[in-house]
Amino acid sequence: FSRGAEEISWKIEEILEELVQHQEPESLQSYLEKALESSLHPLGKLLRALTVAFQATYSGIGANRHLLPMAQEEVKFYSKKIWEFYQGLLRLALERKGRAPSVDADPSLGKGSSLVLPLILPGFYPELSMLYMLQHQREDELYCQGIVELSLFPDIQLLEFLDVQKHLWPLKDLTLTSNQRRSLIKDKCFLSATECLQKLITTVDPREKLEILRKTYEELERTASRLLGADYRLPMDDLLPLLMFVVSRAKSVEFFPPLEYFRVEEFQGKLLGFGVGCVGIQHLGAEIHLIRDLMDPTNQGGMLDFLLTALESCYEHIQRIRLHPKENSHSS
């Protein structure tokens, strides 16, 4: 018995020692990552308990869109508390060594929690993203209908429909085989940007999602610059139609997170229930709002916020597109 207790206290000593050694920004992130994954580390234990409580709250009857604001604030609050807990541990470790805690601890507090958030998000993601999907289900359906209509257009017709300026049409990219007509070709223009945007749902980390968006934008500018033979930065009047083109052409390559990611069977049922048959990026509305709510607040007003807003406006615009009005499908 006593040996067991000794072993644990020795481990805590070791943990505190490690804390002191990993204070630099570069090693801190990977240290926190490991600590949060460990079942022995106090941070890992804390995260495990929070995750279990969160899952119990927001699965089953808790999977209700009205609970989204709470769930979302809760995850952010956890990231803040875990960071505070880490700082407390660090202070303890430093005190034990007879060293004064670093002075600049307080102003970096906000920054610290935005470092923690992406690390803890995977554990909360299934329930949280489910709530986002439920919240934006109706808009996502309208968006899907718009995408379906746009997907019927060949490339040239779509460029025309979206009012993309003629000098930005990548006609050279439309390579033809002998029995093809240029006017019928599909999925050939702005391919590099489209392929980039498709990756949006392959990660749960808001930082990585925003980075994918930035790369998509850069690919668009690269294509435009190639066409014009000069460095070209897209003004909004060009960017919006082009982004619209890319959003209409993007496809969900695979469903990620994979279905088994959603542990609870009931979730799988709900997910299969909607979004089926949609081309385009699935649940784009849910995606956009999740990114906006969980991104690092220092992004607000900046380039990445701007690009996310541009994507959101494409999403809104596509919902309004009705080329072939059907009979009234909304009876209520």
């Binding site: 409580a53 969160f54 709250t57 808790g62 209700n64 869109r65 009205h66 609970l67 709470m70 604030e73 809760e74 952010k76 609050f77 803040k80 906000g110 009012d163 000098h167 610059s225 014009l228 000069a230 460095d231 070209y232 930065r233 897209l234 003004p235 909004m236 009047d237 060009d238 960017l239 919006l240 607040p297 220092t298 607000q300 007003g301 900046g302 380039m303 701007f306 807003t309 541009a310 959101e312 406006s313 809104e316 615009h317 309004r320």
Partner: protein, 220 residues
């Protein structure tokens, strides 16, 4: 509304979001490019463009980070405006002094901005292309009176001759700082961050929360 303002209030540093509005050919991008990068190109179709630009300023020891968001001028994107305006601290509404229609458009945007954002947002109405004074179609008096009537400031600029642009942005920044400071004082000393934290605190006890919000579930 202005959550972008005074992000680091303690350090006398401000981050402002400014939206840029105006019809296609009024020269709104030229104006901002001239200011942020001191570049100008006279050709009709020019590769000199941008949709997002930033500028750092220092006004009386206060550091200002300015983020300028371009908007699409086409009518069919009009409904998307509010997505761009939200949380902006300022708006620059540009018209071409030789084009009466472009001034009418500015009036429409002013109405919309005031409706969406109230008086929180600092409005600048800008008559661009004063190098074409001979072809003027919007009278100075009319424009200035209109601006005053809606609580906006009016400026005369020429992106081509680099006239009036520095003043425009400097003035706008000063007004935004003032608004942000008034806003801060009104909210007490708490920064915007503590506001978020306070909301978060309500959620600490997850069990009572689930109970209390049970009522709202039935409303949907």
């Amino acid at each position: 509304m202005a959550t972008g303002a005074g992000a680091a209030a303690g350090g006398r540093s401000f981050s402002f979001k400014v939206v840029l509005l105006g019809e296609g050919c009024v020269g709104k991008t030229s104006l901002v490019l001239r200011y942020c990068e001191n570049k100008f190109n006279d050709k009709h179709i020019t590769t000199l463009q941008a949709s997002f630009l930033t500028k750092k300023l220092n006004i009386g020891g206060k550091r200002v980070n300015l983020a300028i968001w371009d908007t699409a001028g086409q009518e069919r994107f009009h409904a998307l405006g509010p997505i761009y305006y939200r949380d902006s601290n300022g708006a620059i509404l540009v018209y071409d002094i030789t084009d009466e229609d472009s001034f009418q458009k500015v009036k429409n945007w002013v109405k919309e901005l005031r409706k969406m954002l109230g008086n929180e947002i600092c409005l600048c109405i800008v008559g661009n292309k004063i190098d074409l004074e001979k072809e003027r179609h919007v009278s100075v008096q009319e424009a200035e009176m209109y601006a005053e009537s809606v609580g906006a400031k009016h400026y005369h600029t020429s992106a081509k001759q680099n006239k009036g642009i520095e003043e425009l942005f400097l003035d706008l920044c000063k007004r935004m700082i003032e608004t942000a400071q008034v806003d801060e004082r009104a909210r007490g000393n708490g920064s915007s961050q503590s506001g978020i934290a306070r909301r978060g605190v309500q959620i600490i006890d997850d069990e009572p929360q689930v109970q209390s919000s049970g009522g709202c579930c039935s409303s949907g």
